[in-house]
């Protein structure tokens, strides 16, 4: 029996019908290996209006694409998620609850200056989440894990895109090739995680993207044991760099971002007004 606290999600499922659920390589690998499903059974690639850290392309001049969970039937934002199970009496449940993507696991919370808050744009019914529920430690763990998995995914994507850009003119890869690449990389990253063990991983996760105040890890006075995520990221990048050996190692997006984020604010639209004001931020 699960000891998980009661959530208001049992009778809702609005979020499973209202969003495109973004997924990263870790999410795909987890669902695929645990449910023994080919990623193409539950994943769609959709074009993005502009390039970002998770956008990949399949040819040099191809669309910038991202991956999302499929919907039942044809892909449309307001359709049911492919994994939504409809019970009687309006109840609905996620059919892969234990292995659901980070975006679902963390919804409707976000991290604001390292504090867990409810997203301003969440579609949960009013007062669905009590103040006590918002303080569950599992939110922070899931949010930090999602940050970590997306940051590592950005490194994985960067390597793929560099490989595509280096390919002979006119080369177009099928989506299957990209998904196979993801499955291979994450199998190896899974081994790295298994070697580390859950306790060490928890330290990496909790500390993810934290930097010394001056932001300079090369400073000799910095105790690197306090930043285990950097060691983890290096090990992950070594694994990623083993794929496509002809492609040069890419700049670490995660490190660049961590440095750039030092002292900066998260996207304003995610933060409820009262929390923003209480934090003393300027509107």
């Amino acid at each position: 029996m699960s000891d998980a606290p009661t959530t208001p999600c049992g009778t809702c499922g609005i979020c499973c019908r209202s969003y495109v659920v973004p997924v990263n390589g870790y999410d795909i690998w987890l669902i695929s290996t645990r449910e023994r499903l080919n990623p193409e059974e539950f994943i769609v690639a959709y074009p993005l209006p502009k390039k970002n850290a998770e956008s990949f392309h399949l040819s040099k001049d191809g669309f910038n694409c991202a991956l999302a969970l499929a919907k039942k039937g044809e892909f449309a934002i307001e359709r049911d998620c492919t994994f939504l199970v409809q019970l009687g009496g309006g109840h609905a449940r996620c059919g892969i609850y234990e292995h659901r993507p980070g975006a679902c696991r963390t919804y409707p919370m976000t991290l604001f200056r390292n504090a867990v808050i409810q997203r301003k744009d969440s579609r949960c019914p009013p007062n669905a989440w009590s103040e006590e529920a918002k303080r569950w430690p599992s939110w922070r763990v899931s949010l930090k894990r999602m940050d970590m998995t997306f940051d590592v995914y950005h490194e994985v994507v960067a390597r793929w895109n560099a490989r595509v850009d280096q390919s002979p003119e006119g080369t177009t890869y099928p989506l299957t090739t990209y998904l196979n690449y993801l499955m291979n990389v994450y199998d190896r990253l899974g081994q790295l995680d298994a070697q580390l063990g859950e306790e060490a991983l928890a330290r990496v996760r909790e500390n993810w993207a934290a930097l010394p105040e001056h932001g300079d890890l090369s400073d000799e006075s910095v105790n690197h044991d306090q930043y285990p995520w950097v060691t983890y990221l290096s090990a992950a990048r070594e694994i990623i760099d083993e794929f496509y050996p002809d492609v040069a190692s890419q700049v670490s997006i995660a490190l660049l971002r961590a440095t750039a984020n030092q002292g900066t604010d998260p996207p304003r639209h995610l933060i409820p007004d009262d929390v923003w004001e209480a934090a003393g931020a300027k509107g």
Partner: protein
Amino acid sequence: MSVGTMSRKEDLWLACKPKTCCYVATVIPTGRDVWRISRTLQAPPWTFLRYFESPEPRRDAFALDGSDRRFRLALAKQPSRRKKTPPPCIFLMRTNGGHHRCSLGDLRPASCRSFPSEVTQGGVLCLNPIGCTCHEWNLSDVDVAQERALVETRQQDGAEYAAIVARWNARVAAASDDARFDLPAYCAFLLGAYDALAAGAPLEPSRE
């Protein structure tokens, strides 16, 4: 993050694309199955159960009034427009590519977990009943000791459920002649009974 190892049976079951057994069979859960699913999914039992009249007396058949009529629980089926195929189990998911998966995973009823095995005359047998179109099962597909444990769990859960049903039936018999009970009332009794067992209360003998 590691996947862990799966038994050969789990591998075969997950690899099965059509999951015909989840269409053809009517899954009869024990009270423990109902309790486990309901409490974990935070869904009232009536949202995933149906009941039907039992043509003959059975130890898992419950009364809803003072008459001799007895009923049994079954997992509900999804609404289906197909006339030639039976409707799928309410917990069965289907991807757009036609692969089926049980959304209950490890929560699934003991009868699903032990399918298609039985213990007969002390030995484990893999039966090949109607409903499995993907594979012809035999003992090389399963870990025999594990399979025996699954069947025994199903049998023990069945015996435990029979004792709880008997208590319910005694309660119904003791009620006034015109008393009528419904499925939610029976389910509430079940959940209470298994909550008490989980809290360490002894399984009271039947007073029927």
